[in-house]
Symmetry: D2
């Protein structure tokens, strides 16, 4: 992929481009943290979330551990204690500081973490300039995509933290966008059949431009789909308000049993961050509190809520194959982190007739597919093999990226995954139906 | 199906046969409870399990609520309070007595519950003899299969209860079987391809013999399978001992992340009910404590343990489609509840060359398939629609039945399902591999 | 104490009387269990409560372990496994079966437990007839008082179990008593001063009649009391209804901080077992559901509720010394288990002017005294030393006995104790004030 | 009290002195926070602890809410949201931000909190200079003692936070003190008798110098004590190592039942912050990790550990009356926060023969007295009445102050209190015995 003029994208065709891509992704993380105070960066609002400082350090740890320390037995680490402190879940690397306690580390300070980033970046620039063996180059590429994932988490985690604060802090003060009236929703028909899915084998292409994919996206394989219909747009806030008004959160017949348990246990009565004042729905955004735009895609719903909504709407969620079939020939355009909106937006322009809108960006779309290995899936060797495969249990696949995903990070085969009750990601849904 | 000479099977071709089938299934439940004291029948050892008395009452409630009360608006219930007390999870029927508190009901006594069964059975015999409208006949058939499911649970729940008791009570004192040396395990190759799976549409066949299936087994649909290998036998206790000896429960690299969490949290170091004394492995059975037979299929393992074992063995679990493809032409023979063994047994006889052994009976086999709706799945209308569909989240499919399943209850398309950490069912595993 | 014509009382002056006392107390336990089914006797409704069967067995274990096995090295135990199974909390005796799992033991059956009682009773009768060494005689006496404590618990635990059952089972079907209008409440003045409290030294008197006391009642010691007022009667249901009506459960200013936490966490809005239907207050009793008698003492309140009520009434709870000073010259008469009422009753007769009523029986009265060792307290040696002393933390003292206490079991120096949030005992309160 | 040359003490005899005392106490809080980063000040390591920033803000809120807003209906608050945000537990003032979530507030920043302090301090200086009505003067005095309590908590909470960090941050880098060999421990005899305890009535003396006491220290009242012995020194680290070496944490007979539960549940095997490396005991201090001084008083033990140690040593804890009797004529000298040691120290100098050493400072001494109201205790009216009284449940009294208590804050009648399992305060113990 990715000429130097696309600074957000990554790929390692040659030393020059590699260095540029590295610098671009690394700088983006720091730019995302720039509006935050050291205190904002130190706190952890729940075990699922991590402090911003931890994201900045852990992504750096990835390069130090898997590239620098592997390439050079005499590499001097910035701080030997960081090997444990910023290891997320790599048992092969050794012990880990406990995840729910990441918010108890006032030291190292944000300043020290930024110095750590500088130390590792200087060493990385040197090895990138010198040229890398193929294996390490693959790890660098993985590390950059890994960092982009953490950029998204950095924003969703800060949003969750700020939402706990009665002062409702503002991450970005501008709210540049006005509501528009989008096109009406339509059903788009797909014939299905025996098709190929997933990313083609990476082995031959690891250093090709734009060829990157995570191991969980392959191997490419065939699957058979029956004919189906897919909605032209994601479900909107307005749609969801109708669901609520119709007793959606009070009718057990609409919910999976575990979903109904969650409604009762957690007291859900609306998507996360929604609040009704004087009959007006508001939500919390990275720009602070805001009125709900009825035409924008609903977000911060769990799989359980997405599934219940679909049942109420006499539809269903698409499978991940259905979604991929519909998306794979569409341009990867949409409302990504680069737009600066940091919130899903109503469709502004007329799409191509007969093609779905907003498949990429705005909201991750829950599918009805469990996150499981594709046929023939093999995790990579060693620590890198812990990246994706060991999480293939009790999670559902989401597709398409969101308003806080870097544009260059997404593709048609990309499989995101979260537990069925998770709500703090920018997760929404699009309806599907069996063909009549 | 099911001529009168096969008393354990069910099917409702005509009033006579219907009455016979009804009597046979109902009598079997009481026969299973016969060795138990009233105290044995009243206790609940964990929220997942229910008291035997509750199983006896709830299966009766099913016929009273969905057949008798529906057919006759003037039907006099045995006790109006039972409508809430013995409702398991049917929100459409109304409130439910809380599941974890089922063991707090010393009243009604076992005697009263048996009287309740008598009351309902007399009324059922009358309506069966008079002939039923088609819809009710379908419900009766469902009710009998429902009762067979609870017969299996009755035994697994009593086993779990008895295992909590330091006196290790014996459910059935005989242990009729001696260890044998089974055939060596082989890999059997399957070509895969585009195949049909699931039970054909029930709508047309609801009253045909042997046509019964649960709604979650349909609709029949196509899926594409790559070539694969399937093991000729389930994994044995001896195999599992080797896994344990090789540090299987101490190596995080072998486990899914949630599985490793469970190992740590629950302190698992062997399958449920195993105990090592003087380096000899023992297990608890419905016949009391017994030495482990190394050649018998391992059982009482969770999905997480099955998955970890398969990884250690450089194999994987089969998908439910792979299992069904291999099983669908095999005779439904095996070690079922009718054998009286109530425990998995080593293969006694040479199977057909090139065909898998012990696919039916002995142990439910964990698959790597999440329990999700088949394409086009629609739950039935009303309360019956709550039977299966609402549990399609965070569970995995098991196939083939076990040593406590009634033989007539199982079939190639049968989809059992349990959460990934459940161990108290007779659950085991069979290995699969991608074809080379 | 206790001539043979007072069969409920205990004391061991000579072999004959000892045998009579033993038989009387043991028979009473079985009489209390007689109206119950085996299933009633097997269940445990919460970790604080025990199954009736367990009470019957544990009290027997006490004599077997501390008398029979100590006296005769060749004593043949009924079942060696019972040593662990029915050990409550005596670490010195060894391991204990976990308390919250006492309700998981369907075996031994109630019949076996009664046979166990018979086995131990026969052996005990023999040793009692032969005459006992002084030390063992003291243990027998302790064991009988211990059994009386468990008789009370047997009733409160069955009541709690039955209250979980929507059928509201009846322990004793008669409700022999009608409401009466009691005398008005008055304040009775006491001068206080330097007084002696607690039971005089047991060492010299262990075998005297009526001399029994638990170790926690001594040694006798002096304490200084300021002048105080004590209410002539316990707080009634009618009083407590006024507290509720005045928002008593909704006003944090009336509660200790931990008490207010309990109100929120447990959702308390009335005493345990109260239920309001159509604005009429009902409660659950051992006779089944019953209308509240406004003139009867309130019961099933926690220390926190007693304390909050007293604050609302501009009074306070008495200290245990104040209570003892007022009680010590009063006759030990009142509504005890022997009356058969099994529920607190309104005062039926005019008391002596200037003397408090209902100090003994009806309801245990919460005091504002923490359950702590008296000056000079020393627990006994060995296992018996675990009887009382190790519970002297985070509990409050209650005084006076209740409607389910055996009359011979209580005395002015008796110190009962329960955690501050416990409500399932027959606990009530009486107000006190500083003298003006 | 308190001439200008005693800057740490408080008291409000006249406007000038009041202003000085106010400034001195307020400046001390900021001095204690000065070595900390904004991130250090924002974090909360457990629900019992609070962020430093919260301590700084809440003590300010106290003056704003109870003095400034009460005196002047037109007082302009710094931020109206702080009324809820920094209310600790005053239900009378209204809602409170949840205590366990205090560590989720990155905003207001430390800088804003310091600005809040400046705003309130300027307003306070003005009202103090103008002279205060008597009631407000009493509140100011209370507020200053309140702030001193939070100064101590600020240090114990930072210590707890730093101890969670594998980097073991250092609060104060100097460790000025060397180990010394203290005098041998002796028993000091006291005759007991009928004595007066508690602080004399405050009503008449609220504005007298040095007359301050909390409401829970009164009213003064008589109590009778039997003769007793008190140890000349607190129990030392060396003493406690002997207890550990003798199996102290593995012998249930030494523990209260709830204490033994805590040992099992929490896995206690030594005081908090102790760690054994290569058979050498280390502890964590505000100066970082340090070797244990065997002659210094043991600290960071719970009541349960103190009680178990005393039982092992064939002694007991003193009652709070015994402690007060021994302390009341001693000079209030010792190792307080002003020494800068911030850790308990071995006795450096020979004390007066026959008088106990280190009664004040070094470590809070657990007593065997429950924290309960003194006879005649009445909490103050309104919100101030919530200060002490509502916590009189399930806590034990500690006496004497610690190495992080301001010297002017302590006195013989001072009653500190903590739950029985709390260990993060500088809590230790001194032995007592009944006189022979």
């Amino acid at each position: 992929m990715i000429s130097p003029k696309s600074p957000g994208s990554v790929g390692l065709p040659n030393p020059n481009a590699a260095g540029l891509a590295y610098r671009a992704v690394r700088a983006e993380s720091e730019a995302l943290a720039a509006p935050l105070t050291p205190e904002d960066c130190a706190l952890q609002s729940m075990p699922d979330a991590s402090p911003v400082k931890w994201h900045l350090a852990h992504t750096t740890w990835f390069f130090e551990t898997f590239v620098l320390a592997e390439l050079d037995a005499h590499y001097t680490s910035f701080d030997p204690g960081f090997r444990v402190l910023f290891n997320s879940y790599y048992n092969s690397v050794g012990e880990q500081y406990p995840r729910p306690a990441r918010g108890l580390l006032s030291r190292p300070s944000l300043g020290e973490v930024l110095a750590y980033r500088g130390h590792v970046d200087r060493a990385m620039q040197a090895v990138l300039a010198a040229g890398l063996p193929a294996e390490s180059a693959g790890i660098v590429e993985l590390g950059l995509h890994h960092e982009q994932q953490h950029q998204e988490l950095l924003l969703t985690d800060v949003k969750h933290l700020f939402a706990q604060n009665p002062r409702l802090p503002v991450y970005r003060p501008t709210w540049p966008l006005t509501a528009v009236q989008p096109a009406a929703r339509e059903w788009i028909a797909y014939a299905g059949g025996l098709e190929s899915f997933g990313h083609r084998d990476r082995a031959a292409t690891a250093l090709e431009l734009a060829a990157f994919a995570f191991d969980n996206e392959g191997p490419q394989h065939q699957a058979f789909l029956a004919p189906f219909l897919l909605a032209s747009h994601p479900v909107t806030n307005g749609d969801f308000i109708a669901f609520i008004a119709d007793g959606g959160y009070r009718r057990p017949d609409l919910w999976l049993a575990l979903g109904w348990d969650a409604v009762q246990r957690e007291g859900w009565s609306a998507p996360l961050y929604w609040r009704q004042e004087d009959k007006r729905w508001q939500t919390f955004t990275l720009h602070g509190a805001a009125d709900l735009d009825p035409h924008a895609p609903v977000t911060h719903v769990s799989f359980f809520e997405a599934d219940a909504y679909a049942r109420w709407a006499e539809a269903r969620l698409p499978t991940e194959y259905e979604w991929e079939l519909a998306a794979r020939d569409l341009p990867r355009a949409g409302n990504f982190v680069e737009s600066g909106a940091l919130h899903p937006l109503a469709t502004r322009e007329r799409g191509m007739p007969g093609l779905p809108q907003q498949m990429y960006g705005d909201v991750w779309e829950w599918t009805q597919s469990a996150y499981l290995p594709y046929p023939g899936f093999q995790p990579g060797p060693g620590a890198i093999g812990e990246y994706n495969g060991k999480f293939m249990a009790s999670q559902m696949v989401l597709r398409g990226g969101s308003c806080v995903t870097p544009q260059a990070h997404i593709r048609a085969t990309y499989r995101n995954f979260f537990p069925l009750a998770a709500r703090w990601q920018f997760s929404g849904l699009r309806l599907a139906r069996d063909a009549p």
